[in-house]
Symmetry: C2
Subunit: 582 residues, 2 copies
């Protein structure tokens, strides 16, 4: 038996108990006549003590030679600590060691195993197994395990069945790029790794398993942007005999359960907003509603503004930043520079200060007098002391730019409180999205999403106007889940494929099995999928998903710890009937 | 709202309630003046009634036109059933339909959606979504979900953390063949899909997460034998600061919990047996101990048997089949033919009958007199009425052959009761196994398994004699789990790799990250992995894992429903820097 107790559980009530502990040497302090060792395991830290009076000389010497991260086993007696440490739960006791065994030595670790480490990202990733010993990473992984357990408990109690769908499936060129897997037994053929179990969960609905979920790895061979992973985890869900309302209620229930169990937060009904409202009010389909700064469109007093920049713009819109009329010129210039950065790409920023003494000053004094600025301030619900920031231009661009500014200001003003949770349903998404490069429409959600009733006809005349039975669950400005009511009818699915540019042959080759299935009594159905990595990060009050993944890949899709991907044997290639073509 | 109740929940207490049901038309019976429809969903069947007196002519006509597997929604009132059906929980009521809506039509399904279907295996796989509507398959999937939930609940309560390890890892030519995944972003390089998360779970132990589990898909590109799948699911577990005894206790606890929660069975301590004992007593390292027929070695009265077949054999061993002395010559010939089939490959079978009247007859009367046969019967613990079956030859071959015969006889005699569960730990496996073809030793479990203390030295002198800290959990003659205490020391691991034929360079290239990790304070650790597919099938009282997998592949590794694997675009190949080489 390696231990009688963990390093996190001994208390004053254990005083005089003989114990055996195992763990890592976190720290050694040598005062000559006495040596203290902090022994660490997953559960905490316990102080070990060796002293010249009560410890044999040999044992004291042994303790002195312990290096950082040595793995040791000690036997000893719990004693009261002279100078107590209120910062740790074991701080009232220490263990007077009678026997010490080194279970494994350690080279000096390449970074310190402490909450704030001196290790950079690259080093931490290469030695991820050491990084995981650090509390922040360890606690994130434990937190993730707790969240997934709560998801499973809740959904199981609601009658959902977890079904494993296959990982070796078929490649569909539509959508993001697949990872493929050459088949040795089927020459010249390939499996693909699933981007999501979408078609399989729909087939489970056809199969009558009316409440399905799965926590499942998905794969996308994309050029990685920051904080994207080639493999990621989804909470994938589907229900049959449901309308949109049933799905929203079911998964609002799940989300409330998580907020309650994980964060201790009671939530009321989640607000809902259409996609169009969200775009108009926040310039964004995943608005952070923890704070205001809603978009306020500006209209001229008469027919025109008499200011070219505004008059030539498709949209003139602003946000009111409460209490920031006192911003200095330098602060405002900094904001202007921020929106002009290539990542945002704005031409400029109009500012209007409504000062505490109820006067106005602005960057557009030349064009608008005090009364006109007062007119704007009414449109923007500004109060004395507020700063108004206005942008003008092409609608989609201005919305994106002002939305970015709104989020940036909220961060600077400390309005994005990680301990506050503001869920929001965004509904009625467009069915199709115009690809500006190709001029083609593609599915905004995926090709299996159903249009709103009666809108199928619009597909020919005004495809961009068709709204879908599609919805996103947004939490603190992040899309944490998205789904739709699916098409369950072969003809409708064929029309959709046609509009997405599939020939009937292509549709049959890729999704024939699904359209076949629709002919054998497919029930109405719909579902949702949550991005688990992101959900866990947000619930954990953080933004970086990598910190919640045990062994993440870097931005080149590499695992730098195991050094993968890597070349493979010629023999292996030959068996797969493949040649490199570099 | 598509339904107020499921098709499985209405009872007499619901009589006079207005209800809305949705489901599939399982059956229609048309008596002219009255039409009955069995409406089916996941939860059961409810009888719908339409009759000329109480139903409009139009509605009656609509009911008449319903085809099998049509998806319908009905509104109606629960009424008492005139002729009750005690076989189904809803058999006392029916629903008098007032409104019927066809939600989706169905072509005639290619096989009947009934417990005993007329569909063959191939057809059922092609239309797996229809097969899943059948109770046996549906119930298996629900059962599987229940088992995994119980595994997770139990292990979580015991402090285990579920950690997701990566799917895109590095290929290791050692062991079974990997599925590989070409990397587009890293030209000419490949990921591999994990055969198990072995090295990652060991790194988690180095990382201090001392109790890990994961229910995880694993992949093996093997030529598929019957009932093997290229992707399969493991309950993967690892613990740090443990000895073999700790692991056995922890996972005996899990197995007991499953037997209790899933099957309602209380179990006592699981018996244990060494590998050597199991081989000697059952000729098999995964013996079915639900019944006897232990192996009894035969020894001559004097120095020799005086029977060449026995005298020239390394092993003469038999089993006693209770109460089968009455077997006819024809029955015994059938057994002899059975062991002579190429799959078994025995030369023949010696039989000895110990009749109820205490006389002996045998196939070797020429060589052994009555007294000699009585001597054998003592060695074999035979009683009057028993049949003794004896085989002789090379030890390993005879053991395998007699073991197969023992299992076959047990099946024929009905001794393999699917509702009885006989778990068994088999311990002290050999560390290495001789590959008869190559003459090389390879790891019996895997290269990370530790030898028994003090046996490392034997590796040079007598590699086959080295025993490992390795154990299997056997249930009803199936290995449901296997594991070992791992090596946690770089030097020992290097010695192992050397003995397995790795050059130091190969070891470093493939497992350098693990050996590096061992230098930074790796704790003693060990673990186990359960084959979930098999475990679920056995708990479900069945032997075929395919029936417990939602979308299994066939023996060529194909998914015949979605028709995968399949050729991919030239464009896709080009992006991956690959060429077909057929």
């Amino acid at each position: 038996m390696y231990r009688s107790h963990s390093c996190g559980e001994l208390r004053e009530s254990h005083i005089d108990t003989a114990v055996t502990l195992s763990g890592w040497v976190a720290k050694t302090r040598d005062k000559g006549f006495v040596v203290w060792v902090d022994l660490r395991d997953r559960y905490g830290i316990t102080q070990l003590v060796f002293d010249a009076d009560r410890t044999s000389a040999a044992l004291l010497e042994q303790a002195r030679n312990l290096g950082r991260e040595f793995v040791i086993q000690v036997k000893g007696t719990v004693i009261e600590r002279a100078s107590k440490n209120a910062n740790i739960p074991t701080g009232n006791i220490e263990v007077l060691v009678e026997d010490l065994k080194v279970l494994n030595e350690s080279k000096t670790p390449p970074f310190t195993i402490e909450n704030d480490t001196d290790g950079g990202e690259d080093l931490r990733m290469k030695y991820r197994y050491l990084d995981i010993r650090r509390n922040p990473v360890k606690n994130n992984l434990i937190f993730r395990s707790k969240v997934t357990m709560e998801v499973r408990k809740y959904l199981s109690e609601q009658g959902f069945i977890e079904v494993e769908t296959p990982y070796l499936i078929k490649s569909t060129p539509e959508g993001a790029r697949d990872f493929v897997v050459p088949s040795r037994m089927n020459e010249g053929q390939f499996y693909a790794l699933p981007q999501s179990p979408q078609t399989f969960k729909q087939l489970l609905m056809v199969g009558g398993l009316d409440k399905y979920f799965q926590i499942v790895k998905c794969f996308r061979d994309e050029d990685l942007r920051a904080d994207r992973q080639p493999e990621f985890t989804q909470i994938d869900c589907e229900m049959a005999f449901v309308e949109q309302e049933d799905i929203l209620n079911a998964f609002e229930g799940l989300t409330k359960h998580l907020l309650k169990e994980i964060k201790g937060i009671d939530s009321t009904s989640f607000p809902r907003m259409t996609y169009d409202e969200a775009m108009a009010k926040y310039g964004n389909d995943k608005p952070d509603i923890r704070f205001g700064m809603d978009f306020c469109p500006l209209t001229p007093k008469g027919g025109t503004f008499g200011f070219n920049v505004f008059d030539n713009a498709a949209l003139v819109v602003g946000i009111t930043v409460a209490g920031c009329a006192s911003y200095t010129r330098k602060q405002i210039d900094a904001l202007t520079d921020w929106v002009r950065r290539p990542q945002i790409g704005a031409n400029g920023l109009v500012w209007i200060k409504y000062t505490e003494d109820k006067t106005f000053s602005s960057s557009v004094n030349k064009f608008f007098d005090e009364a006109y600025l007062a007119h704007f301030s009414k449109q923007m619900n500004a109060k004395p002391g507020d700063l108004m920031l206005v942008m003008a231009g092409e609608t989609n661009k201005v919305r994106a730019q002002l939305s970015a500014l709104r989020m940036e200001l909220a961060s600077r003003l400390g309005l994005r409180n990680a301990n506050e949770f503001a869920p929001l349903w965004v509904v009625d998404f467009p069915l199709l999205e115009l690809d500006e490069e190709t001029g083609h429409y593609h599915a905004m959600h995926h090709p299996f999403t159903s249009p709103k009733p009666g809108q199928l006809e619009l597909l020919d005349s005004d495809p961009g106007a068709v709204r879908a039975n599609a919805y996103d669950l947004v939490l603190n400005g992040n899309e944490i889940g998205g789904g739709s009511i699916r098409i369950h009818n072969k003809e409708t699915q064929s029309i959709m494929f046609k509009h997405l540019g599939f020939t009937p042959e292509e549709a049959k080759a890729q999704f024939g099995f699904l359209m076949d299935a629709f002919q054998y009594g497919a029930p109405p159905h719909g579902g949702i999928a949550f991005g688990l990595d992101r959900l866990v990060a947000i619930l954990g009050g953080q933004e970086t998903i990598r910190d919640f993944i045990a062994f993440p890949k870097n931005n080149s899709g590499r695992d730098v710890m195991i050094d993968a991907p890597a070349p493979i044997d010629k023999e292996q290639l030959k068996e797969l009937n493949l040649k490199l073509d570099l």
